[in-house]
């Protein structure tokens, strides 16, 4: 095995320090007994307790979760459909225009997306609340889903669908029974991406929410403007914990799948 040279050790340390020191400080201060964020006064978990009795935060968390689940699900359905048509639809009129337009919202500044949606909702007289945030999040996250799914569809062996048709499946059955199970990993990662984007979003939600609905990022942002409270630190620590668990679980699952695939291939080679 190669030993790491001192240069590599230094670069590695610097990189990780840069990435994780801010988060580490946040986690440490979430266990601070003092109300002042910058002064350490001993270990305590009292902010976690206070967080759990803070209805405003819990409400906001619940709204965020609902918005994320609903919008990412709708975005996944729409984004997958769009990707399927753009990759499989052949050369229909305006195809290039459509495929270009599906990517445009990815590079559009969020402020503009948020503002234009706000104007739309006011224009059609839609009361702003959970529904409008869901619609707004669906709008921008379906583009991401469509990009993820279409990259999988491009490498998808077309003859599998033809084989299904050839064996008497209707086009819908061919999609449901053959295409969808095979592209499922991409659809799931599209959903997860949309879910994360929705959880994360502050700008678009600020434009499209009303007094009846506040998402967690909005709540945190507005509280921080009044001064950082240790409660926010506690909340953020919980979020970091959830993300860490999610990422580790996902990478373990994919590693296991890779190991299984390798074992299967070896078994097949032996059988030959």
């Amino acid at each position: 095995m190669n030993r790491l040279s001192s240069f590599n050790v230094v670069s590695l340390t610097l990189g990780f320090v840069f990435l994780y020191v801010p988060m580490l400080i946040l986690v440490i201060y979430s266990f601070n007994a003092s109300k002042l964020v910058t002064v350490w006064a001993g270990f305590s978990t009292k902010w976690y307790g206070e967080l759990l009795s803070n209805d405003a935060f819990l409400d906001a968390a619940w709204v965020t979760l609902r918005v994320a689940v609903i919008s990412s699900t709708i975005a996944t359905v729409l984004g997958t459909m769009a990707a399927y048509v753009l990759v499989r639809g052949g050369r229909f009129w305006g195809r290039t225009l459509f495929s270009g337009m599906i990517y445009a919202p990815l590079v559009m500044p969020e402020v503009i997306t948020g503002l234009s949606l706000l104007l739309l909702f006011i224009g059609i007289g839609l009361d702003r609340g959970v529904l409008t945030i869901v619609l707004a999040h669906t709008t921008f996250s379906m583009c991401f889903v469509s990009v993820v799914v279409s990259s999988r569809l491009v490498s998808f062996d077309r003859s599998l669908e033809e084989a299904a048709l050839d064996l008497g499946a209707s086009p819908w059955d061919a999609f449901r029974l053959v295409t969808l199970p095979i592209i499922a990993p991409a659809v799931i990662s599209g959903w997860l991406l949309a879910f994360t984007l929705s959880l994360d979003d502050l700008v678009i939600a600020s434009f499209t929410s009303g007094p009846s609905a506040t998402t967690l990022p909005m709540k945190i942002w507005s509280s921080v403007r009044l001064g950082v409270s240790p409660e926010i630190n506690a909340l953020s620590t919980i979020l970091i914990g959830l993300v860490t668990v999610g990422v580790i679980a996902a990478s373990l699952a994919s590693k296991q799948a890779a190991v299984r695939a390798k074992r299967d291939e070896q078994a097949a080679a032996r059988a030959a």
Binding site: D157, L160, E162, A164, D166, L167, P171, D264, A268, A271
Partner: protein
């Protein structure tokens, strides 16, 4: 009583299963199929043979329903199938890549087509078991496609496409991915299964040996046109053009002018200072008409001394290709032409008669070659 030979194409009363009528297919400016008319009969094992890009795959995809016709019509069992979508045709296809569904077991792959038209679980199970038995895959029924070998995958693809007992089975380069030994065994297996099931097979291949082995008739294609349709023997022994003669196997071509000398016999003037060669031909040629004499290397004999033969030409051995069972001698004639003569190596190599630079005579009979206009 004489055994009846399977030759429905010679029987004018026989109705073809598939009729291509003036079929044309264009992709933009490119003409993939050019005004093609062809009949394929029931129980035939029909091979479409040609170099890549000759339109053979397009023809197959039109039969399966994946490509539309630009012009003309295709009939299957007397019905025009132009408007029938792929999933409603009594035609199944075995794909070149096999196109096995990776998320389904071998069993479920074979059952896929059956489940689309019936809910009778017992009947489906019985048919799948029958197919597994036919293709000797019983042991692998529960495996996924990536857990079996290439040869087994090929058999799963075959079982899956035969499960619905189609009128017509299309095979797109079915043995392309197998190694030579396995390929040969599988060719005979395919013929065996075709005979057992009585299904009409249409196979697309660029491998002439494969087409010759399996097919009852072969269509040699080039640039969207069928050059010749005939049994493998006729394609090999009586090609109708230099293209077909050259595409199938090895051949010597002598260019010259024909001169009728007696009934169905012609002299070919192939070089100024050389004696004309004689060739029999049922195809008529006028005096002085340009012609090509095609002679297979195994029909050319090689001698040390001038032989008593219809045609004998002197030359010297330029090259020897030793293939184990056969040797091909490349004999250079004084005109610079090269005649290949193939000899079975019935003796050990140390006893071989000729070596490089030896002056030799090559000879062939007047019926050995085929006289072709183009």
């Amino acid at each position: 009583m004489a055994e009846t030979v399977f030759a429905p194409w010679d029987d004018p009363n026989e109705k073809p299963l598939i009729r291509f009528r003036n079929v044309t297919k264009r992709f933009g400016d490119f003409i993939a199929i050019d005004d093609l008319t062809l009949d394929i009969f029931e129980r035939e094992f029909f091979a479409l043979l040609g170099p890549s890009g000759c339109g053979k795959t397009t023809m197959m995809r039109m039969l399966a329903g994946f490509e539309n016709l630009t012009d003309g019509s295709i009939e299957l069992a007397g019905q025009d199938i132009a408007g029938v979508p792929a999933n409603k045709r009594a035609v199944n296809m075995m794909f070149q890549s096999y196109a096995l569904f990776p998320h389904l077991s071998v069993w479920d792959n074979i059952a896929f087509g059956l489940r689309r038209e019936s809910n009778d679980k017992a009947a489906i199970a019985a048919r799948v078991e029958e197919m597994l038995k036919l293709t000797r895959l019983e042991k692998f029924a529960r495996r996924k496609p990536h857990q079996i070998s290439g040869g087994q995958r090929q058999r799963v693809a075959l079982a899956r496409s035969l499960a619905k007992a189609p009128k017509l089975l299309l095979l797109d380069e079915p043995l392309g991915a197998l190694d030579a030994k396995l390929r040969e065994a599988t060719q005979f297996e395919l013929m065996d299964i075709q005979e057992k099931t009585g299904t009409t097979f249409v196979i697309v291949t660029h491998d002439q040996e494969e087409a010759m082995t399996v097919a009852s008739r072969v269509a040699v294609m080039d640039e969207g046109r069928v050059m010749q349709v005939a049994t493998p023997e006729r394609i090999y022994e009586a090609p109708n053009s230099v293209y077909v003669a050259d595409f199938i196997g090895d051949v010597n071509i002598l260019r010259g002018q024909a001169k009728p000398i007696e009934n169905e016999t012609y002299e070919v003037n192939w070089a100024a200072q050389q004696t004309p060669v004689v060739a029999a031909s049922t195809r008529p040629f006028s005096d002085g008409q340009a012609c090509h004499l095609a002679i297979r290397p195994e029909k050319v004999a090689i001698h040390r001394d001038k032989p008593e033969a219809d045609n004998a030409v002197q030359g010297k051995v330029l090259d020897i290709a030793y293939l184990g069972n056969l040797s091909t001698y490349h004999v250079e004639l004084p005109t610079g032409d090269i005649i290949k003569a193939q000899v079975a190596n019935t003796r050990r190599i140390s006893r071989r008669d000729f070596t490089w630079e030896d002056p030799v005579w090559v000879s062939w009979t007047k019926t050995a070659g085929v006289l072709l206009a183009k």
